[in-house]
Amino acid sequence: MKEFSVLNHNMVPEHILLTEDEVKALLEKYHVTTGQLPKIKTSDPVCKEINANAGDVVKIIRDSLIAGKALSYRLVIEG
């Protein structure tokens, strides 16, 4: 038995925790509120790895089949 971080798995895209300023800029850019973003739960294995708390926003850099790279955002919720 050895430790394995799920962040290294091929199917898990890169998750980045955003700072408050970055969140503000993001919401302004897309004219949305945090509640309108897709969600991710605090119990999610990735959230545990990057120590995300409820209310944080994570930026996800996906490998897209169409665009090469695609950005996505998720609001961390209790769960």
């Binding site: 290294n8 898990v12 969600k39 665009a67």
Partner: protein, 446 residues
């Protein structure tokens, strides 16, 4: 000053301030700048004795330099300014390297690329969900109804076709045929013996896999004759087996050579049969849930295909490559690797299922479905208990499934329908707020 040069040319040269000594140093371009045709300039220089060849080479060299130098730098900066997806930028960068262009040509190309991209974008107010549903639904009618198929991997049967597609979109907790693809570390992936040993290590082995079972009704006991060859193959001794059986099932086990004699707690027929069932289902060795392993060689590396899935345990096994382990149980992926990995898995599983049937569906439709299924942070099915069941509108929910229940519940709770969606507006006979129906334009004739 003449020396065989026409008087007109001489006049121009004098006007430009050329003296004989200056003229000797001058190159063709200098003369052209002064207003002499290049053919004339060459003949002048020839008469003076300046070596023309070198200056000509210089000229052509300069043109190439200027072309390449300007383009590459400009290409990069121009590409940086564009709002295009990285894949298109990469393709442009790659293709532009192979051709020589002027700046105007470059601008033209970029403009056309951007125009084509903007044209290809989905238009505002487009009913993307409906289009996605149709795009997945229509090929669904062509899919086979047959459930089992031996796809590439001999011996392991996998649910494919329509049943599998339904399974994916319904986000079933456990698929009907769970299966894993395990790739191995570089050190052992080419070594057949090491791979086989690892496979024995992982595969769940029950007592019944190791020998033949017989029930002795007269003595009320179970006798298992262990197979010596199997034991050495799986590197386990008869003593080990007896001990592990005692530990796991807590029964009286006696070892007599290669014979295991097991007594049930109470000597009853029912008890005996239950014990057999227990022996069958308990794994003495390996990972519970991995029922069978098939080893296949795929371009110079051995890959393990398993019947049954246990992602969390497999990830922590020695010898396997944890970054490339795959399972077809999407809920398990959501639990172990997170919601984003589950989204990727929904997309790849659905695409593979469709592709295997020879159907090409644009990945964007599947991506939309996967996004809807995962946007709440957990895997939701597309259906009554998931996305369709969570719609805000009563009429829309009632139109989908179990109509009466929804209407009754809504009446009891006094629900209000805002008539903001598509379905409810179709029901009440209003224009839907989609496409041109969502644009409020007033034409003032005059």
């Amino acid at each position: 000053m003449k020396r065989g040069v026409s008087s007109k040319t001489a006049q121009i040269l004098c006007g430009a301030g050329f003296t004989l000594s200056k003229l000797k140093k001058a190159s063709v371009e200098d003369l052209v700048e002064a207003g002499i045709t290049s053919a004339n300039a060459k003949s002048i220089l020839k008469k003076i004795g300046t070596p023309i060849e070198t200056s000509e080479e210089k000229v052509s060299q300069k043109i190439i330099d200027s072309k390449e130098g300007v383009s590459q730098k400009i290409i990069d900066s121009r590409l940086g300014e564009l709002h295009l997806p990285p894949s298109i930028i990469d393709a442009l960068q790659h293709d532009l390297k192979t051709i020589k262009l002027t700046e105007t040509q470059l601008d033209e190309i970029l403009k056309m690329t951007v125009d084509a991209y903007e044209k290809a974008k989905v238009e505002p107010c487009e009913a993307v969900g409906t289009v996605a549903a149709q795009s997945i639904g229509e090929p669904g009618t062509q899919m086979t109804m047959r459930t089992f198929h031996y796809a590439g991997v001999a011996e392991i049967s996998i649910t494919l076709g329509l049943p599998r597609l339904i399974e994916i979109l319904d986000a079933r907790k456990v698929p009907s045929t769970p299966m894993m693809t395990i790739r191995l570390k570089d050190e052992i992936k080419g070594d057949r013996d090491a791979v086989r040993k690892l496979a024995w290590e992982i595969e769940a082995t029950s007592l019944l896999d190791l020998g033949d079972l017989s029930i002795d009704l007269a003595e009320m006991q179970i006798i298992i004759e262990l197979n010596e060859k199997t034991l050495s193959q799986r590197s386990i001794t008869s003593k080990d087996i007896a001990q592990r059986t005692r530990d796991k099932i807590d029964v009286d086990v006696r070892l007599d050579g290669l014979k295991l004699i097991i007594h049930p707690e109470q000597p009853s027929y029912r008890e005996l049969l239950q014990l057999v069932e227990k022996l069958r289902s308990t794994a003495l060795k390996g990972i519970e849930g991995i029922k069978r392993i098939v080893i296949r060689k795929e371009d110079e590396e051995y890959v393990l295909y398993t019947e049954g899935s246990a992602l969390r345990k497999i990830l922590h096994c020695d010898g396997i490559d944890p970054t490339r382990v795959k399972t077809n149980n999407i809920n398990e992926i959501a639990d172990v690797l997170g919601i984003e990995a589950a989204r990727n898995s929904v997309i790849s599983e659905a695409m593979d299922t469709l592709r295997e049937q020879g159907l090409e569906v644009d990945v964007r439709h599947i991506m939309l479905a996967a996004d809807m299924m995962t946007c709440g942070g957990e895997l939701k099915q597309i259906g009554r208990h998931g996305i369709a069941g969570e719609k805000a509108s009563v009429l829309s929910r009632a139109a989908f499934e179990v109509t009466v229940n929804h209407l009754l519940d809504a009446a009891i709770h006094g629900e209000v329908d805002e008539l903001s969606g598509v379905t409810e507006n179709v029901i009440v006979g209003q224009p839907i707020r989609l496409g041109t129906g969502d644009v409020e334009l007033v034409y003032r004739g005059g």
